[in-house]
Symmetry: C2
Subunit: 268 residues, 2 copies
C-alpha cells in the first residue's frame, strides 16, 4: 500500500478533485475537516425554485452570515462555477433532508430525490478564515482544546426576504486585544467566509446573556486578558430556512461539506 496516503484511503487528501471522487465513490462518509485544506469548503442548501429567489435576496441582504459562493442553474446538479465536474447530488459525504422544517432523513446521496425545480446554494464557512488566523499566528482556543466553536443566537436581526428571517447566529473566539485587532485585519480580506467580526467585547450588547452557555457547540474559557470576538455564522441561514418550513430542503450533514476548487486564500 502506498504510505503517502493516510487513513487507508487511496487518494490525495489535499487535491479537491481526488477528495470529491473518493466521496462520490463512498470512501468518505464523515467530516471533511482536514481534506482539501487549501480550498474553500462550503455549506449546502438545496431549495425548490419557488423559494430560490427569496433565498438569493436573503443572501444578498445578509452577506456576513450568508456569503454565497455559488448557485446552480435551476434543475442542474452541476456547479461549474465552483470546480471541475462537481455533482451536488453525490459529492458531499452525507446529506440531511428536512421536510416542513423537520429532519426526516440522513442519506449518503440525493440521486433519488433530485428534481427539475431544485436550486443548490453553496455558502462559505468559517473553516478557511480559521486556517488563515492560525497561519498568521492567532491561536484559537477551540482548535487547541479540540472543541466545537461556541455559537449563539443574537438579537442582531437579519434583513428579511420572503419567509426567510430571524436573528443572526454568531461564532465566538476569545482573544487578546491585539489578536482581536489582527483578526479584524485578516478576516476582512475574506468576505466569502463571513468577513470581519460583527461584534467584540460585551456579549449583552448583541443579546447574549450568558457567554458560558452557547446555543450550539462547546463553551470556551475567557481569560481575564482576553475578550470575546463574534463572527456571523453559517447557522444563520440554516436557522432561517428551518423556520421558513419549506416543503423540502436538503443540506449537508454538519461537518460534511462541499470541497470546491476555489483557493481558500485567493481573490474572491
Amino acid at each position: 500500500m502506498n504510505q503517502i496516503y493516510a487513513n487507508d484511503a487511496d487518494f490525495n487528501r489535499s487535491d479537491p478533485r481526488a477528495v470529491r471522487a473518493a466521496i462520490r465513490a463512498g470512501k468518505i462518509t464523515g467530516e471533511t475537516s482536514g481534506l482539501g485544506s487549501n480550498y474553500v469548503q462550503g455549506n449546502l442548501a438545496i431549495l425548490p425554485a419557488d423559494l430560490a429567489m427569496d433565498f438569493l435576496r436573503f443572501c444578498q441582504r445578509n452577506p456576513k452570515p450568508c456569503p454565497l459562493v455559488g448557485v446552480s442553474e435551476t434543475g442542474d446538479p452541476m456547479l461549474p462555477t465552483l470546480g471541475n465536474d462537481i455533482d451536488i447530488r453525490t459529492d458531499i459525504p452525507s446529506y440531511n433532508v428536512y421536510r416542513n422544517g423537520e429532519l426526516t432523513e440522513t442519506i449518503p446521496d440525493v440521486n433519488d430525490l433530485w428534481r427539475d425545480d431544485y436550486v443548490a446554494f453553496i455558502i462559505g464557512c468559517s473553516f478557511s478564515f480559521e486556517q488563515a488566523l492560525v497561519n498568521e499566528g492567532v491561536p484559537l482556543q477551540h482548535w487547541d482544546r479540540n472543541l466545537t466553536v461556541s455559537m449563539y443566537i443574537t438579537d442582531v436581526m437579519t434583513k428579511p426576504s420572503g419567509p426567510f428571517r430571524g436573528g443572526t447566529v454568531v461564532s465566538m473566539r476569545p482573544m487578546t486585544a491585539i489578536n482581536a485587532i489582527r483578526s479584524v485585519e485578516i478576516t476582512s480580506r475574506f468576505p466569502h467566509t463571513h468577513g470581519s467580526p460583527i461584534h467584540l467585547g460585551d456579549p449583552a450588547q448583541i443579546g447574549i446573556n450568558d457567554i458560558s452557555k452557547p446555543d450550539w457547540g462547546d463553551a470556551q474559557e475567557i481569560p481575564d486578558n482576553q475578550i470575546p470576538v463574534f463572527w456571523a455564522c453559517g447557522v444563520t441561514p440554516q436557522n432561517a430556512i428551518r423556520m421558513a418550513k419549506p416543503e423540502i430542503c436538503i443540506t449537508h450533514t454538519p461537518g460534511s461539506m462541499l470541497i470546491t476548487d476555489l483557493p481558500a486564500h485567493g481573490n474572491v
Copy 2:
C-alpha cells in the same frame, strides 16, 4: 432666496433624502454627480421576474463587474434595504426604457410602466471609490481634465447565467506604480463599488489593442512614468442585458443614478 443652496434648488445637496425628494418632485432631471456625495450611488436595472433569477445568479458569479447593493421584492417598487422611502419608480432623475434590446424611450418616471412582475436591481458604481482614491491623495487624470473615464470591452469573459454573458467592460485610470499599489489597497476595501482592479499594465493581455481608442468615454494620456490600471465596470451588466434582448428592461439614464442612504465609505 437662501444662498446656502446652490443652483436655484431649495434642498440640501448633501442629504440623500432631500436629494431624492427633489428628484421625485421633478426639480432634478439631470446627472447626480456631486449630490449626496458621501452616500453610495447605484446603477439601476429593472427586469421582469422570469429573468430576475438568472440575473441574480449572473451578479453572484461576477461580483467585480456586477456588485449588487440591493434587490427589490418582486412587484414592489420600494427599496427599504437601501434607505428611507425609496420609490424606484420616481427617485431617479431620468430612465431609459429598452424593448428587445433597443432604447425606445427616455422618461422622467416609470409610474405608468410599473408591473407586478418587475424586480429592481441596484448595482454599485465607481463614483464612491474614485472619491476614496482622491481623498487618499491618488490623483485621477479624468477628474483633473474633466473627462469621462475611458472604458473598454475586454476578452475577460464573464461567467454566464441564462441569457446573460459577454466580455467584461473595464474603466482605465493611468497612475504611477506606487499609486497603482496604493489604489489596490484602497479599492479592495470596497467590494460593493467594483473592488480591486482586475488588471494593470499591458492592455493587450486583456484584449485591448489600442489604449488610445476607448469603446466608451474619453481617451486619456498615459505618461511614460505611469501605467494603466483597469477596474471592472458597471457597463458590463448593461451590455449583458442589452445582448440578452429582454422583452423590456428599464435602466437609469447614464449619469442619473440612485442615491441611497448607505454611507459610501462604510462597512458593507
